[in-house]
Subunit: 767 residues, 2 copies
């Protein structure tokens, strides 16, 4: 059974009632982030129950020395870990000297959490009963500013609901944090300097090895009835923690609020010696602006995001809540302002998986960012990989490739590979194809070819070189083969001729050749620069072409099916639905060898190819392959349901499409995979967006025109979404009575709506 404690609500994630067993789950679900930093929804005050602490600064990581059972050549020396950063949210509270700790008080009542996605804040409310005569009500709201993304704000309001009492607040900074997933119990951080002055405190820490410097800072104020109260300053400072204090006597029914302004300034954005000054500036800005105005700014910023990114679903509150949660989390994780950053699979909601960048970005996230942001954002994501091309070449060299062949890493922070399962790290090479697909997809969608001569072609060349070298000529078959790979279906390892990989490899080479021609024809300077740089010769491209032309594709002629890999039909083919539920999920119930020799598929593999290259295949072919592979798919990857939802919609299997949609959109809210405690599945959330826009909305680009083939699940009264298509905003509204598309842009747009081509004239935004 999935969990069902989150209350359905169109704009908020709501938990009601105190259940300590849900604390870690809610810490993930109520996480907040602003693209530059983020936190799990840990309590501000002391909590001695089970909790998983997590605060993260985007781009600040630690290369943790690899630890494996048995070393194999080629393993990367380090695994780049998302770092748990110093904690700035802490506010311990003492009531008449007794700590406020929900794990220890007599009783907790009226407990609730709300993550207000519309306005971008998180609030927790509860009444803590210390005895029959003494109780306090707490309303703690916090947000991480979008506008000043080094700033977090906490408004911690306490009311004496029973009895008179002395309340002492101890806001603190704690740099003595660790990672749960440290390999060797290394200290990831060194604390360099602690400063406590007036009402401000600063801790400058440095990451070991990577030498990121981060200044964590805070300033607090005590407010009652709109008045700022005086309060004591420094309480305690050891070598890891700075603790301030502010105490006040409250009579029954009186309220007092501690406001804490806090955050991080890091050496990513400042000179090391300027960190304290930068932090002081943020605090000055914050205190002068004040809580109410900052909150107002936050609401406005989120309103701007929603104006473009929102999707409405009518008549299905859980579906509505699901899609907004996905869109909200994506925007909390990555806003596209900084080309050095990327979209971590857990965003700012947990430390699991480490690394920030997977092929998820190229395969799943780019469409969302292309369609809901300025096209510069998607360009930044592409540029991120271009910047790491040298590292990708080094990575390939470590595995024995040469001549500028590039293998992009499976997981990375800085371009270096940092994953260490050989069957994935060394073999799941299809990721290289996603890099090229993303460029192709970007150009197709935005019409911005300039990226190719400027940066993209170099990436394509390096990847074509990789595929050329990685292919093996089989004398036997008189074909080029790709041996020893893991496809997107990670429940197969070291297989020969994964169809998806082979198909993608061939396509990548052809893309490189085509784009070489285009750049040669239209961008002479760039062409010369690139040829000078890569020493690409005609004989080299001829040998690429040979590999592409003679690439082997595993196929079963009898069934008319591309085979996931050589020998796939030697397996026992038993549909998932015939599997006793006691065996599910197989990744928890079966040993690895049993999974491997089974026919079960973790996530779209052949069908991933049909998704990427929809226009290469007929609907009948899609149907045949969907009918063959989907029944064998266990969807035990978060990336699986979205692709299948899109394809089910294309095949008019609306019930199935709807079911997959719910699964992808409420994966974390309903905890399908029983692991939300560790964090949310951020990158698959972009897949959720695709399942509406590309699935039910049927968006594809046909001859430079957006085409919509809309399908309305019968559970819905209607749905709507917007896309930015080449700087024109299209608003697509689907209801039982039909589909309407409006453009709010500046120019007429040619679109295809359910097969009919029309030219839309721009409307006023508030029309």
């Amino acid at each position: 059974m999935n969990q069902e404690y989150i209350k359905p609500n169109a704009w908020s994630i709501i938990e009601e009632g105190w259940n300590p067993g849900l604390v870690k789950s809610s810490e993930s679900l109520f996480s907040i982030g602003n693209g530059a930093m983020g936190q799990r929804a840990n309590f501000e005050e002391q909590y001695s129950g089970e909790t998983f602490q997590g605060s993260y600064v985007a781009g600040v990581y630690y290369p943790d020395k690899t630890r494996v059972g048995w070393w194999k050549n080629g393993y990367p020396e380090y695994f780049a870990k998302v770092l748990n950063a110093p904690n700035f949210i802490g506010i311990d509270v003492f009531i008449d000297g007794e700590p406020l700790d929900l794990h220890k008080v007599d009783k907790v009542s009226d407990y609730s959490r709300e993550l207000n996605m519309k306005e971008g804040w998180y609030e927790r409310t509860f009444i803590a009963h210390f005895s029959i005569d003494k109780a306090v009500k707490v309303v703690a709201r916090r947000f991480l500013c979008l506008e000043v993304d080094e700033l977090g704000v906490i408004n911690y309001q306490v009311t004496a609901v029973k009895g008179n009492m002395k309340i002492e607040f101890q806001p603190y900074l704690d740099a003595g944090i660790t990672n749960e997933d440290s390999n060797w119990d290394d200290a990831f951080w060194e604390i360099e300097e602690l400063i406590s002055e007036d009402h401000q405190a600063f801790i400058r820490s440095r990451t070991n090895k990577t030498n990121f410097h981060v200044c964590t800072f805070m300033q607090s104020e005590l407010v009652q009835n709109g008045e700022h109260l005086q309060y004591a300053n420094h309480l305690e400072q050891n070598n890891k923690v700075i603790r301030h204090t502010a105490a006040i006597e409250l009579e029954e029914n009186e309220t007092v609020t501690l406001r804490k302004y806090a955050g991080y300034c890091s050496s990513l954005n400042h000179q090391q010696y300027e960190l304290f000054d930068a932090a002081r500036k943020v605090l000055t800005h914050a205190t002068l602006t004040g809580y109410d105005v900052l909150l107002q700014g936050q609401i406005e910023q989120w309103a701007q995001i929603w104006a473009m990114a929102d999707i409405t679903i009518d008549g299905d509150l859980k579906a509505q809540q699901g899609i907004r949660f996905n869109i909200f989390q994506l925007n909390q994780t990555y806003l596209g302002k900084d080309a050095r950053l990327n979209i971590g699979p857990k965003g700012f909601t947990g430390e699991k998986y480490g690394g920030s960048t997977y092929w998820d970005t190229e395969a799943y996230c780019i469409p969302f960012y292309m369609a809901t942001k300025d096209q510069q954002v998607a360009r930044n994501l592409l540029k991120y990989r271009y910047e790491q091309l040298d590292k990708a070449i080094e990575n390939a060299e470590k595995l024995g490739f040469s001549n500028g062949a590039a293998l992009y890493p499976m997981v990375t922070m800085n371009g270096e590979e940092s994953h260490n399962e050989w069957e994935i790290t060394f073999e799941e090479i299809h990721r290289n194809g996603a890099m090229v697909f993303a460029i192709y997809n970007y150009v197709r969608y935005t019409g911005d070819f300039s990226y190719v001569p400027e940066m993209g072609l170099e990436v394509m060349i390096a990847i074509a070189r990789f595929w050329h070298q990685r292919a093996t000529f089989s004398q036997k078959a008189n074909k080029y083969m790709i041996l020893g790979v893991t496809g997107p279906n990670e429940y197969e390892n070291n297989v020969n001729n994964n169809w998806y990989t082979n198909y993608l490899a061939k396509w990548c080479i052809n893309q490189a050749l085509e784009n070489l021609d285009k750049v040669k024809d239209g961008y002479d300077d760039d062409y010369k620069r690139i040829i000078g740089l890569t020493h690409l010769s005609g004989s080299e491209t001829a040998s690429w072409r040979e590999v592409a032309d003679q690439m082997y594709e595993p196929i079963d002629e009898e069934l008319g099916i591309y085979l996931q890999q050589d020998g796939f039909l030697d397996k026992e083919i038993i549909p998932v639905e015939e599997l006793d539920s006691k065996h599910r999920p197989i990744n928890q119930k079966w040993s690895w060898d049993r999974i491997l020799r089974s026919c079960y598929i973790k996530q779209a593999d052949v069908l991933q190819g049909f998704y990427f290259f929809e226009d290469h295949f007929t609907k009948q072919e899609l149907e045949k392959h969907f009918d063959f592979y989907e029944p064998l798919t266990v969807h035990e990857s978060s990336l699986s349901p979205c692709v299948h939802s899109i394809q089910a919609a294309k095949l008019d299997r609306m019930d199935q499409a709807y079911e997959f949609y719910l699964r992808t959109s409420r994966l974390d809210l309903d905890d399908y995979n029983k692991e939300v405690e560790e964090g949310c599945h951020i990158t698959s959330m972009a897949g959720t967006w695709m399942s509406i826009v590309e699935g039910f909305g049927g968006l594809k680009i046909v001859d430079d025109k957006p085409s919509f083939e809309t399908k309305l699940p019968e559970q819905w009264d209607g749905f709507s979404f917007k896309i930015n298509f080449r700087n024109q905003i299209l608003h697509v509204q689907v209801s039982k009575s039909g589909t309407e598309v409006i453009t709010y842009g500046t120019e007429p747009v040619d679109v295809i709506i359910n097969g009919k081509e029309i030219t839309l004239q721009p409307q006023l935004i508030n029309a």
Copy 2:
């Protein structure tokens, strides 16, 4: 280049000259053991240079919690580690208060080591120069008694070669030892009690988790000119170490000797509360018997071993030294007295690989022990697996098998799997076949069928059940297949239809069926007991038979070659000799994925099948397969050269056979694999023995008769070996003039010599 510092000598391993860079290598090569315990050749006195400490007690292990990079279902929780045991050899020496430490003294001269294999002792000699005026000569000899296998003896003799001086000896016991390969830095041992009384000391320690109790003990005596001197007793005792002391003033050219009797008594052989008493008894025996008599006993014991196990090679000193080193080490490691013990891959020479038992025992070691010991020894080795059948069934259950199917572990101490690479642990299942082959081989060689009804048949049934369940019916091929395995060639992982595995599986099922019939016919009680125990039904055996009858064998019809696995010919087939030497060894130079997709073979795989089942194939078939596979083989496993040497000899390729022989017999002495520092390759030493007896001697059993097809490498003048064939001793002597076989047994023996059948009449041993 291989190392060449060991002096060729027929009966001894000799090192001459002081080279600190060789200390760790020599610590492995000069290791001593007596089947019950063993030690690396660490120095008795303090040594601050690079060293790898190792003392081991057979059967005493620690289950170290598994550590992997990424957990996969089915991994065993623990890895059973060979334990570094308390050190009893330590004797610190001070010359006028200055420590004798070869890493620190002014100069070391006249340094040599000798491992006298004939007599079973190890001696180190050197002169240590403290200054121009002060030098001592040390002659330190030690041995581990074969007769009283809890006892070790050290004779540490010091002569003042320059100057008068005060010499202080500090014999000690040190229980504060650790393992280099600990996963989590656990303490493997708890020290429970330390006793120091008179000239004796005892430390009782307990292994954590496994609760083995070991009493390490010592007693020392100071001897000069045959007289026992008085000396002080207790010097120091902390919670880990007991240190005694004995000092004497020496004038130039005077000599003094410290004799230390020491050893282990363990709870494997004694009640825990009797350990101290047992240790006292050993010490009483030792001191009453005295050094000279103990040494004489040792020489006699080894003489008995050599009388049966020796192989002579005439005209090739290095080859002679090699084979004796192999035979010596095998006898140091395992003497077959105790069915709870087995043959660790490093014996008592290092801690690498952990575990004591691999399929090496069944595939490589049993023939040696069958032929050079009483047949009870081989029976004990078989019984070891029988005793662990329940664990093998549990092991299979953990991987999802049922109905009493057994999967024997890849590595074990107590029957539980303790290896954790999925591609080996879960997939290298051919090991199960070696268990059955060993039973078959034992019965064929010894004629003792009684083992089958008593124990072996149960093992065969459980293994047949495993293969039956592990096979997959391919609708496509209308055959049973075995998917997702690793064959003996560990440079392939997760392949389908490894020919060796499929062939062995089919053979195992047929063996079980045949032996069921034999037991049914001749051993009614056993048959009933076994059927009652296993609930084996006619329909079950029928379904086994179906799998065996329809087992798929990958073959290339065109080449007439059994394929190592499906798809093998899709690889680029380039002989090893065309590979640039900079790529060798590939396991150090290539990334794992590159190794996997290459055609290169680590050790005999298809050819292992041809070795086991020689009589199933013609010489022409062997030749064809040898010519195809050997050129693709890199022999990067210690188990590889011996099989190839045997097959080359069978094919009359004597140069190749000789080269492989040298490689297997001097693998450690010449350090072919650049890793002898970590210990010697004990189990492959039995392969060396096979390469002479089965290769050059051409021994096989034909219709219950030993048959010899002898071949003399041209580098040799002759060679000879003995075998115990069904309690008759055969002495085979091959020279340039021909082959002579003599029996020293009690009965006439029918033998086949180079195709000619003769009946040998027994001769007197000293004939």
